[in-house]
């Protein structure tokens, strides 16, 4: 009898192994629709990009993008759940399918695009790396930081760019790397390091958490290009297209002057064919992506256009107070350009 039960167990394992090998992956859009919500990976503690407000709901640039995507798929921007991730977990979460989209101020690099099996959707925010120091150490330029100790967040492009910059200028420095952004800021605030380096938007954002904001200044040098944007997994072209075109709708809406306030009006009365196609009043573009016909309308109505999202989260009226700069539309001298909706 013991032999029989052993044989049964063995047979079960073998068959389970055969049966379980490489099932075909269902399309991501169908999976998301079946679930009923979008799972979005965010930073979770970065004011302006993704941070909880005083009622515990997440707000920020990255958060608003995910809400726009949810509005496009479900017609309801609230059908989205957020997963805060550290820099170390973010790619694994996306690769394993734990999240559907990664919207975590992630820099678009070749290594990540090709070596990590992800596709970058677009650049939500053109940024560069900067260095923040306390004003009282009397440093006016990054080139005066020879021999300094610098606090860094672990495993970001920041670490490598900093090493490259210092080597290129023949300077030395000592890096102290921490796993979480909060720990980096705490150590910098305590004086363990002379300087803190990160993307300039992150520096502006983290400065809000410091006790005396005006005692710190961000040095003028921009050490690298940091195009930040959302990312999806390789292997699903339809999902990639959906993510891209939601981003383009945000930009095109600002270009055509459609805002969340006037979108109803525009849909009913606009004579501009581009606007009509985007809002679904004309043409059949939504279904080509697998989305409802009015996905553009839902995106703008519920999340706003790119300009509104930027002003709400990072604009000059917010505590972070960043000017549009290179993030303005191409027609205003910036870099944000989207293909036409047709």
């Amino acid at each position: 009898m013991r032999i029989n039960s052993m044989a049964a167990v063995l047979a079960f394992i073998v068959l389970a192994g055969w049966g379980g090998a490489s099932p075909a992956r269902a399309a991501k859009l169908d999976q998301v629709k079946a679930k009923g919500f979008l799972q979005c990976g965010i930073h979770g503690a970065l004011p302006g990009f993704s941070t909880p407000d005083d009622r515990g709901n997440f707000t920020g640039l990255d958060v608003d993008y995910c809400r726009a995507l949810a509005a496009a798929i479900f017609g309801d921007a609230n059908k989205v759940k957020f997963t805060p991730l550290t820099a170390k977990e973010r790619f694994t979460a996306l690769q394993s399918g734990e999240i559907d989209i990664l919207s975590r101020n992630t820099t678009w690099t070749l290594g990540r695009d090709a070596g990590q099996g992800i596709n970058f959707v677009g650049v939500l925010f053109y940024d560069g790396q900067g260095i923040m120091v306390k004003k009282d150490i009397g440093v006016k330029s990054a080139k005066d930081l020879d021999g300094a100790t610098i606090c860094i967040n672990q495993g970001t492009t920041t670490e490598l760019n900093l090493a490259d910059f210092f080597r290129a200028n023949g300077l030395k420095f000592t890096p102290i790397t921490f796993e979480k952004a909060d720990e980096v800021v705490a150590a910098y605030a305590k004086g363990r390091c002379d300087a803190y380096t990160s993307d300039r938007s992150q520096l502006a954002s983290q400065r809000l958490k410091l006790a005396d904001r005006d005692a710190h200044e961000i040095l003028p040098e921009v050490l690298s290009k940091e195009p930040l944007g959302p990312a999806v997994q390789h292997g699903d072209d339809q999902w990639f297209d959906i993510a891209k075109w939601v981003y383009y709708v945000l930009l095109d809406a600002e270009e055509y002057g459609v805002t969340s306030q006037n979108v109803d009006d525009m849909r009913a009365t606009s004579k501009n064919a581009d606007v009509q196609r985007m809002l679904g009043a004309q043409g059949d573009l939504g279904p080509l992506l697998g989305l409802p016909k009015d996905f553009g309308y839902q995106v703008i109505k519920q999340a706003g256009n790119y300009g509104e999202i930027y002003e709400r989260n990072l604009g000059p009226d917010t505590p972070i107070g960043l000017e549009r700069g290179v993030n303005a539309l191409w027609s205003n001298g910036g870099l944000q350009y989207a293909p036409p909706i047709r």
Binding site: S22, G117, G147, E183
Partner: protein, 394 residues
């Protein structure tokens, strides 16, 4: 009637009727099934990684690391390979674990004995320490020590200094570093040889004492045997030791040997936390020794200290050593929390490598293998110690 063949022929039993063969077959089958399962899992992982377009394999170990570390026991620069970065992490883990094990053992033994002291104050302090600190999560203790240590120390430009050679600031403790020159190796060799000579001499004297009954006071002879040749060789080679003095240069102290606050904070937190558990193990071991032993020793006229040292603790060690092994392993694994305060031990370095290369499976497998090996070595050594102190069964 069922027996085939003649009486002289033994019955050949089928494999499944013979208990010994059956056991062997079953165990072999289990091993094969387990092996197949492991292979299948590994194959699944590799093929999934390939399907998801994620790089795999250990080739990344030869690539340039690109990141620096604040402190390392071997020479390291961002130009080095990832493999060297791992080596730095492993050495730092070993360093903090070794320091932690020594300190925790000392604290544990002292506090464990103190908890059994007849002095009320000592006993209360020891109890408060154990009960208080073993209930606070280690990560919180690490943060406490780190920020407390950092907070108390001054900026480099206002560092405490002793005679301008030793500096203490919130960047670390800076000491003069010895830099051995060319002929430095001569003196330790001479020292070693003369120590051996001294040992041989004292053996010979003892032998002579036993044979002839002469008691010769050794006096200053051993000292001379060791000191004179060493001193002479030192002078002949021209005192070949330079010192690299730390001095303030811009933002930091250049030269010298530095001990960073991360290491100190991690070491303190690990030792103090693990010390509480070791103290309890020691106390348990001492209480496990029969009271009759203490009574007999005291009756023979041994003092309390002698009783403890010569009678109780050697017997208590049998009970203390196995949990002590556990605590050492626990301390080694807890050193991975150093990543939270920026100490470049293995977890921290492997985390950075994981992020830069994106190869989570390989990096984590390597990290687990290293921790596993370190822990197995510690466990094997402690098992040898255990064999030395355990009760000999007849």
């Amino acid at each position: 009637m069922a027996v085939t063949g003649g009486d002289a022929m033994t019955r050949i039993s089928a494999p499944w009727r013979d208990p010994a063969k059956r056991a062997f077959l079953l165990q072999g089958l289990v091993v094969v099934v387990l092996g197949a399962f492991v292979l299948w899992i590994a194959n699944n992982a590799v093929s999934n990684l390939a399907r998801l377009d994620i790089a795999s394999g250990y080739g990344f170990l030869d690539q340039r690391a690109g990141f620096g570390v604040p402190t390392s026991l071997i020479a390291y620069s961002p130009e080095a390979t990832y493999l060297r970065a791992f080596a730095v992490g492993i050495l730092n883990t070993l360093l903090v674990s070794a320091l932690g094990i020594v300190a925790a053992t000392l604290i544990g033994f002292v506090v464990g004995v103190a908890r059994l002291s007849s002095n009320w104050l000592i006993r209360t302090i020891a109890t408060a320490y154990v009960e208080g600190l073993r209930n606070i999560p280690l990560l919180l203790q690490i943060f406490f020590w780190y920020f407390a240590v950092l907070g108390a120390l001054p900026q480099p430009r206002r560092a405490f200094s002793i005679a301008d050679t030793v500096f203490l600031s919130n960047r670390g403790l800076f000491l003069p570093a010895p830099m051995p020159q060319d002929l430095f190796w001569v003196t330790p060799v001479v020292l070693g040889l003369s120590a051996v000579a001294c040992l041989l001499y004292s053996r010979w004297t003892r032998g002579r004492r036993e044979r002839e009954g002469r008691f010769d006071w050794l006096g200053w002879i051993p000292f001379t045997i060791v000191a004179v040749p060493t001193l002479v060789s030192w002078l002949i080679t021209g005192a070949p030791l330079e010192w690299s003095m730390p001095h303030l240069q811009g933002f930091r102290f250049a030269g010298g040997l530095s001990i960073v606050p991360e290491l100190v904070a991690l070491w303190f937190a690990l030792s103090i936390y693990t010390g509480t558990f070791i103290a309890e193990a020691v106390r348990g071991g001492i209480l496990a020794v029969d009271k009759g032993q203490t009574d007999a020793a005291r009756a023979l006229g041994l003092t309390r200290g002698q009783t403890l040292r010569l009678v109780v603790i050697p017997q208590a060690l049998r009970v203390i050593v196995p949990p002590l092994t556990n605590q050492y392993l626990s301390l080694t694994k807890n050193s991975s929390l150093g990543a939270a305060i920026g100490f470049p031990e293995l977890m921290n370095v492997s985390g950075t490598v994981l992020n830069q290369t994106g190869q989570a499976v390989e990096v984590l497998a390597l990290t687990m293998a290293v921790y596993g090996t370190i822990c197995l070595v510690i466990a094997a050594s402690m098992n040898a110690v255990n064999r030395a102190v355990h009760i000999e069964e007849r």
